[in-house]
Each structure stands twice: as C-alpha cells, then as structure tokens.
Amino acid sequence: MKLKAHGIETNLPTGWEGRIGVRTTPLATSSTIGDPNEIPHPIVHLANFALPEDRGDFGSGAVDIMNDQHVFVSLFEYGPECANTALFSRQGIPTKLTPNMFSASALQRTLPGQAGCQIFFTAGNRAFCLYTVVGKQSAAARVLPGANATLSATRINPR
C-alpha cells in the first residue's frame, strides 16, 4: 500500500496504515495543539493498528489505544535551518531499531508497559525526528521487525 505526499513516500506492509500530512496552523492560542506563530512541517504517522483521527504530533491519542502487539511511528520534520546541524547529524532514516534502544523514559507521555525511542536525523537535506513507541517493552523484539520494514520502505526526497 503506497502512500506519497509532501516529498515523502512509503510502501506499507500488511497490517500497517499511515498518514502523511501537514497540520494546519492554529488560529488562536486557545487551540490545544500547536502555536499560532509556528510554521507546520510534514508529519508522517505509521502504525500497525487503526490510527485515530485526533492525534498529536508525537502520537498522543494514538498511543492511548495501543495494545502489546502495536507499534506507532512518527516522522516529524523540523525547519530547514536544522538540517545537518549537530543534533541532526545522523544521515538517513534509521531502519534498524532494536529493543535495547527503547525505554519508558523516552516516552513523550508515560503509559504503563510502553517504551519509546527518539532518533534525530537528516535525510534529503531535511531534518527529522523518528519517534517510535512499542505497546509493550517486552514485546519489542517481536514487533520491531515490522517497524524496521516500514521504515526501510520509506523515502524522503529533497525539497
């Protein structure tokens, strides 16, 4: 199942679904997500479960409904000024996630049993953060091959 938008494309394996989009700029400071002064950049959400529509950039709303066999992947793009800087010096999309890279302390929002992993990188001269959440840390070895396959099938094209 191929998905393509905003210079990012992926070919999702069986059981996975995704969204590639740019969040709209909030109109008022009262908005729960985002800041009126921000310039939103593309965000990719990939998961091996049904993604809810009400999701935060790093999966809030989606991680809440995950079970032990679920994986959530977010590719969050930062501004062009960040590309190739020290934090984003790693080149290319990480495609070899291993269980020891995951920790409950890396979660944006701590939920029992879950573990997360955050990697910053540059691809196609664009700065990204790969944020991955597994539904159960002890099941990471079982579910990460699917996440790695999905990431391997993802391409980020230069702007």
């Binding site: 199942m1 059981g15 969204r19 740019v22």
Partner: protein, 284 residues
C-alpha cells in the same frame, strides 16, 4: 378614451390567450388520463377506450423504484469486493491510507459526495459521533471520489473530525459502488463484505448494518458453543492411538468394536459401576 379602448383590447387579448392555454392544458390532461384508463368502468366497451396495458412484471433491478437521490442497488448477485483505502485527505494535499482487510476491527465504509442532497444528512450525522451508535468494535471511514471529481475544499468543510475521510475514486470501482450515498460493512479479520446498502438517513442505514452484524454475531455465537477439548484428553487420545497403531490395530479394526469373553466377564463383575477397561472402544 382611445387609450383606454386600446388598453382594454390588449387586456382582453391577453386573457384570451391565457384561457386558450388553460383549455389546451386541460385537454392534454384529459387525454393522458384517458390513455391511462381513468373513468372507464370494468367491462365497459367503448370504441375510443383502449385497454390499459397489463402490469409490467419486475424482471430486473432496473424495474425497482427507489427514493429520489438514493442510488439503485447494483446489478449483481453477491456483495462487491473490499480493498484497503489509499487516497488524499480532505483538502487534497495530505495522503491517507486506511487498512480495511486483515485488521482486528470491522469497518463501515461510507461512500459520500459533497454535492448530493441525501449525503448532507450523513455529513451532518457524522459530525455528531456520539449519536451514531456504531456497532461495537467498528470503525467508520468516509470515502469520496478523488479531486478530479470532487472539490477538495468542499470535502474539507464537510469531513468529520472524528472519523477518517479518504478521497479516492479507485475505491468506488473496487467496491462496485452504484452511487452516493452508499455503505459497505467489511469484516476486518477476513476482509470480506458482510453487508451493503443505502438509505435516506443514518437511522435506516444503521438498522441495515445492525442486521448484518446480528447475523454475523449469530454465526459467531454458534461457533462459541463448541467446547474446546482439554489438552490432557487430546494427549491421552493421541498416545492410545499411537500404541494401538504400533500393536497393529488400525482404525476400523473389528477388535475395537467387539467384546471378548473375558471382557464380558469382567464387565459382569464390574456390575453397574462400569469399569474403565470394560470395552475397547477408542476413537479410530
């Protein structure tokens, strides 16, 4: 004075034209009614009266009459196919993929249009998710045609925030959709269509879908009544089968179904308590 006469003449002429028009229309109506057999008593024979045609038998789905703005059922015997959904999000810029087949949850795919009058009721209904009363474990996905056939901005205005909306013309072909609004209920694990149809509002469509889920639920309930065999019993049976096979006793062997004299004797000794070895009847 002259002007008044001219004015009156003109008014009379206009009224005359109107009267002629009304009479002509009236004559046309009478002629149509006459053709339909109105006013002719049964058995009345009239040279002018033409027999009304016999009722046309319904021989195809085209003969069915459905409500205006509601698509007629497709010309096929079975449910249409199901497919995962890939397309654009409302607005036409973001990409969306929705997995329908091989997933845990069932999916109701609602095929709508931004332009059709009946669809508006569904767009309004989907804006209030709590009132939808979706079947448990079911996900609603809205599908419109792609940007080549729909206005992305119009779809963006109508699209519900709680449910995913996908703009893809391919899905209309994949599911063999006759028109909008139309609904397909897909069983997630098998990826098969369990029900499809349409209606003038969500309440009627929900009733249709509930019927499909109830029917499916009955099948599931019957399957649930099958009691699983304990592992110990299964292992014991397999061990006995292996030992019998090793001894040359194959399935269907007469010795499995006959009682020896000794067996009969021991059976008598056991009385009604029924010894465990009273008969050599094993599963073949």
């Amino acid at each position: 004075m002259t002007a008044l006469i001219v004015l009156l003449t003109a008014v009379v002429a206009v009224l005359g034209l109107l009267v002629v028009g009304v009479l002509k229309t009236h004559a046309e109506i009478l002629k149509r009614l006459h053709d339909l057999g109105a006013g002719i008593e049964p058995g009345e024979s009239s040279a002018d009266a033409q027999p009304s045609p016999p009722p046309t038998p319904i021989t195809s789905r085209d003969d069915f009459q459905v409500m205006p703005q509601v698509p007629a059922p497709p010309e096929r015997e079975h449910f249409g196919g199901a497919a995962d959904l890939v397309g654009l999000a409302p607005g036409g810029k973001d990409a969306v993929s929705i997995r329908i087949q091989g997933v845990e949850q069932d999916t109701i795919v609602a095929f709508l249009s931004s332009g059709c009058v009946t669809c508006q009721k569904f767009w309004d209904a989907f804006a209030k998710p709590r009132k939808l009363k979706l079947p448990k474990g079911t996900r609603l996905v809205v599908v419109t045609k792609g940007p080549e056939a729909e206005s992305p901005s119009s779809v963006a205005k109508l699209a519900p925030t709680t449910f995913p909306t996908v703009m893809t013309t391919d899905a209309f072909t994949d599911y063999d959709i006759p028109g909008s609004p139309y609904f397909v209920y897909v069983h997630g694990p098998s990826g098969r269509v369990r029900g499809e149809g349409t209606g003038p509002d969500w309440d009627q469509v929900r009733a249709l879908l509930e019927q499909a889920t109830v029917d499916a639920g009955l099948t599931g309930a019957l399957e649930d009544q099958q009691v699983a065999k304990p592992n110990a019993d299964q292992a014991r049976e397999e061990r006995i089968d292996r030992e019998l096979w090793a001894a040359g006793v194959q399935p269907g062997d007469p010795s499995l179904y006959s009682l020896t004299q000794q067996d009969e004797h021991s059976h008598d000794d056991a009385g009604h308590t029924g010894g465990a070895e009273s008969a050599k009847i094993v599963k073949s």
